[in-house]
Subunit: 151 residues, 2 copies
DNA sequence: TATTGTTATACTCTATAACTATA
DNA sequence: TATAGTTATAGAGTATAACAATA
């Protein structure tokens, strides 16, 4: 027979899925607002970070890694190129491919993005101890790695 | 003077802000896809959960709690009313206000949404132990509470 | 023919502003 | 006048599809 303890009393708002979704939306909006002073949006920052890691090269590779369509990468790269943050070069071995490269200005902008994200981290965890902060990042890093995200 | 230890070597993708944003986007998209079979979107689920908690009443209250504009609540409530999930009644004390109520059908749909979110939780943490899952939820709950989110 | 990058277009989500009715 | 809800409109973000250059 089924005892009371077997009955799940789970709430939607108590699930990690729901909380990740809502917290992610709030955090992303905050990040976007603060990035605006640098003329960037979160996806620009993600692209800069990806180039800095040296992982991706062509726009197709970038699109796959960022989980967006190649046509979206065009606009992101256009804007970053206008800012002098990235360079675009045709791959000599395959002239269809555009190889994106990070400039000093790009690394500088990436540093500003990282500072912005760090500041949000501090606000999210203000008043909490270092053990909580460390645990938070490690926990999220595990999930991110399992989801196939770079970083 | 400044030692090597003082230099922050933080990466953008290592911040909680960035990881919450990306994990939240992926999770929310997955949740949305699976909710579609019930004719619902994540915000519908959030509204049902809010009504179930008994916290909110008028559409203005709901809009504030859900951090969306009142005009968006109109469409959400319209759809849920069509599905027979919520009732709309004028407040006798103030006939400008619409009081939303959850029906049995609404509670049934909310249970489906909760099951869907739970299933995603299990997939996100498949192969990890209960200690990790418990820690994950508690950690996110702390952040959610500090961000003023209900639940 | 297949693939890379690009452009043109459409779709989804959401906010802003104007409007109606109640207060 | 002020507020609750509604409607109409506009904007942001992204995907899909068609296209040009290269393989």
């Amino acid at each position: 027979m089924r005892s009371v303890k077997d009955v799940k009393q789970e709430t939607l708002t108590g699930t990690a899925a729901f909380q990740l979704g809502t917290l992610g939306a709030i955090t992303a909006e905050l990040f976007a607002e603060r990035l605006a002073v640098h003329g960037l949006k979160p996806k620009h920052a993600g692209l800069l970070a990806l180039l800095d890691s040296g992982a991706a090269a062509s726009q197709q590779d970038i699109a796959r890694t960022m989980r967006v369509t190649p046509s979206l990468v065009v606009g992101l790269a256009d804007h970053l190129e206008e800012l002098g943050a990235v360079t675009r070069e045709r791959d000599p071995a395959d002239r269809r491919r555009q190889i994106l490269g990070l400039t000093d200005r790009g690394r500088e902008l990436l540093a500003r993005c990282t500072e912005t994200a760090s500041a949000i981290d501090e606000e999210l965890t203000a008043g909490l101890d270092d053990a909580f902060r460390t645990n938070l990042r490690r926990t999220l890093a595990v999930l991110a790695a399992r989801a196939g995200l770079p970083g």
